[in-house]
């Protein structure tokens, strides 16, 4: 949350002559430090609090059975997933905001999150989820890739607007199907399971989940990370970007496939988690002089910090049943969203 005070204190528009005092700030370094601290806190905290010594022994010696089990089998995969999923959402949000030049774009924009959610709903609806713990993410991934194909079939090959509109249409269609799945759920339990899955959570995720999604997240993020220079040129609009040699069709394809792989995989293992991908890029944007390519890495770090912090918070808050991560990020994220809209209203020409 390092950026909030900075953004709130000014609109990032220094007067003529002065260098923007924020643009040279190395925002990545403090974010990495915060992420490391949060990762340690994440290993310590939960239903059973562990001391740093217990965590150390749990990881590096096999004597203490219980703490070893908690740290290695529960908290470590959960922490790793939180960092990977948060970074994915932050990076993808930054890419899509740069791609659409719309500060309110978020990773679900192109329909892939809804596709992953629908895949998971199918898995629960037809009882496939009972076969294996990784059945839901596998179905989610298939759903995300199917949604990607649908978005591309409708809006591919044009400019950014046609892709975004196609994503909106696919989103609407898939949410209708998800509602239909809930409507026709075979049992109350199945409906409840669908609902709780849709709320998003990192609880009870294992190394199997991590191993399943890592290749997709790494491949997707690698694709997205290479869009930086084209996104910079796109800040001049589509025509000028094309005149500078940017291939908009190829960029659309990379953004869509990268998002489908990375966000599809992330959503298929955690459920829908909102606001991280929207807010993460905004926290770091003023520090890098608003340059889209320089936002990508810090936005990924900010996303990881936000999601890990939110996941730790859900473990600390005791209100009976565990608060779902997606519910928490939505509750905390909405006021930030309000503030963002008000700030944009003030800043925009």
């Amino acid at each position: 949350m390092t950026g909030v005070a900075e953004i709130a204190s000014g609109d990032g528009r220094p007067g003529p002559g002065a260098r923007p005092f924020t643009s040279g700030f190395p925002v990545a370094a403090p974010l990495i430090v915060i992420l490391c601290v949060l990762a340690i806190v994440s290993l310590l905290s939960g239903r059973v609090w562990l001391s740093p010594q217990e965590v150390w022994d749990g990881i590096f010696s096999s004597h203490s059975q219980l703490s070893s089990l908690i740290v290695i089998e529960l908290r470590l995969p959960r922490t790793v997933l939180a960092i990977m999923v948060g970074a994915t959402l932050g990076l993808c949000g930054a890419v899509l905001q740069g791609f659409t030049r719309n500060p309110l774009a978020e990773p679900g924009l192109l329909g892939v999150s809804a596709g992953a959610s629908f895949g998971a709903v199918i898995a629960i609806y037809f009882g496939i989820s009972l076969i294996s713990a990784v059945a839901i993410p596998v179905c989610g991934l298939i759903g995300a890739l199917a949604a990607m194909s649908l978005t591309f079939a409708i809006g591919g090959g044009g400019g950014t607007v046609s892709l975004v509109l196609a994503g909106a249409a696919v989103n609407a269609f898939l949410f209708a199907l998800i509602s239909l799945g809930l409507n026709l759920a075979p049992s109350i339990e199945a409906a409840y399971e669908i609902m709780t899955w849709l709320m998003g959570s990192l609880a009870n995720r294992s190394w199997d989940h991590v191993l399943l999604v890592t290749p997709f997240i790494v491949a997707g993020c690698a694709m997205l990370a290479f869009t930086g220079r084209s996104l910079d040129a796109l800040s001049l609009g589509e025509i000028q970007a094309e005149s500078l040699g940017v291939n908009l069709r190829r960029l659309s394809l990379i953004a869509l496939i990268g998002t489908a792989l990375a966000v599809g995989a992330a959503t298929s293992v955690t459920g829908t988690i909102g606001f991280i991908g929207l807010v993460g890029p905004h926290l770091v944007r003023p520090f890098v002089g608003y340059q889209p390519s320089r936002i990508l890495f810090p936005a990924a770090l900010a996303g990881a910090v936000l999601l890990l912090a939110a996941d730790i918070a859900t473990r600390w808050i005791s209100i009976g049943p565990e608060m779902k991560l997606g519910v928490f990020t939505a509750l905390v994220g909405t006021p930030v969203f309000f503030w963002l809209v008000m700030r944009l209203r003030r800043v925009s020409p």
């Binding site: 528009r13 002559g17 923007p20 643009s23 001049l236 609009g237 025509i239 005149s243 500078l244 608003y290």
Partner: protein, 259 residues
């Protein structure tokens, strides 16, 4: 010496012809002002010869090469293009905005090499933008933004500058300044092709005027030969008075022509 030529250009949009059998040839050292009424096909012609839209028929050649056979980046290194009312969508600093013009020549990885940063600094100086270096481009005035965009277009040292109405929307001082700078670029050996609505400025600064009417080139030649009341009547459907020549040329409109 750079030569940009087009022959038999045809373009249709929505069943309507936009360009009809246009032939065009221009070379280094020329400042070609494209004139014509709204909807005459000026922007389509400029975007076509810039390689940004593919015509339905006809060929465009850059020196001896067919434009269709060159990659986007190869074209981008030779010609700069400025659309009508170019704008910057994020509050990037003016320095960053100008540096974006180097996109086609940047090395595959890493930041801006030192010699390219020197080019950016030189352009900021040349276009009177040093004072605005760190200012967000979204807060520039119209005249300042026009200068910043021209600096952006020229920082990569292209052989050709194609600009769609670079002067419209500027106040008289900035319009004169901008037209003078375009003319100086042509004198410096670049090929400048721009659509211009201010015919007085076109008469004073362009080396050549090319008049488009309903998608066809009706007249093409030096301003003093081309800009006549008869041409303005046929192209713009106005009665106009044309006086003076060279730096004292003056064009004003009197009344719409009788139908």
């Amino acid at each position: 010496m750079t030569v940009l030529s087009a022959s038999n250009l045809m373009m249709h949009r929505g069943g309507r012809p936009i360009l009809r059998d246009v032939a065009f040839r221009a070379q280094s050292g020329e400042f070609v002002a494209i004139i014509g009424a709204n909807g005459a096909g000026k922007s389509t012609l400029l975007a076509s010869i810039a390689g940004l839209i593919v015509p339905d028929a006809g060929t465009i050649r850059l020196d001896d090469a067919d434009l269709a056979g060159l990659t986007r980046v190869q074209i981008a290194r030779r010609r700069a293009y400025l659309p009508q009312n170019p704008r910057c969508e994020w509050p990037l600093s003016v320095e960053r905005l100008v540096a974006l013009g180097l996109t086609p020549v940047l090395p595959a990885f890493g930041g801006l090499p030192a010699e390219m940063q020197m080019r950016v600094d030189a352009m900021l100086d040349e276009w009177d933008l040093v004072f605005h270096r760190a200012q967000p481009a979204t807060t520039l005035s119209g005249g300042e933004l026009a200068r910043a965009m021209l600096a952006r277009a020229l920082v990569g040292n292209p052989d050709i500058l194609i600009a769609d109405e670079p002067i419209s929307g500027l106040d008289p001082r900035h319009a004169l300044d901008c037209a003078g700078r375009l003319s100086a670029l042509a004198r410096g050996g670049k090929l400048v092709i721009a659509s211009v609505h201010d015919l007085t400025l076109a008469a004073r600064y362009a080396t050549r005027i090319c008049a488009l009417d309903h998608g066809s080139v009706t007249d093409d030649g030096p301003p003093e030969k081309i800009l006549t009341p008869e041409l303005l009547r046929s192209v713009f459907e106005v009665e106009a008075c044309v006086s003076g020549a060279g730096a004292r040329a003056f064009v004003d409109y009197l009344t719409p022509s009788a139908p």
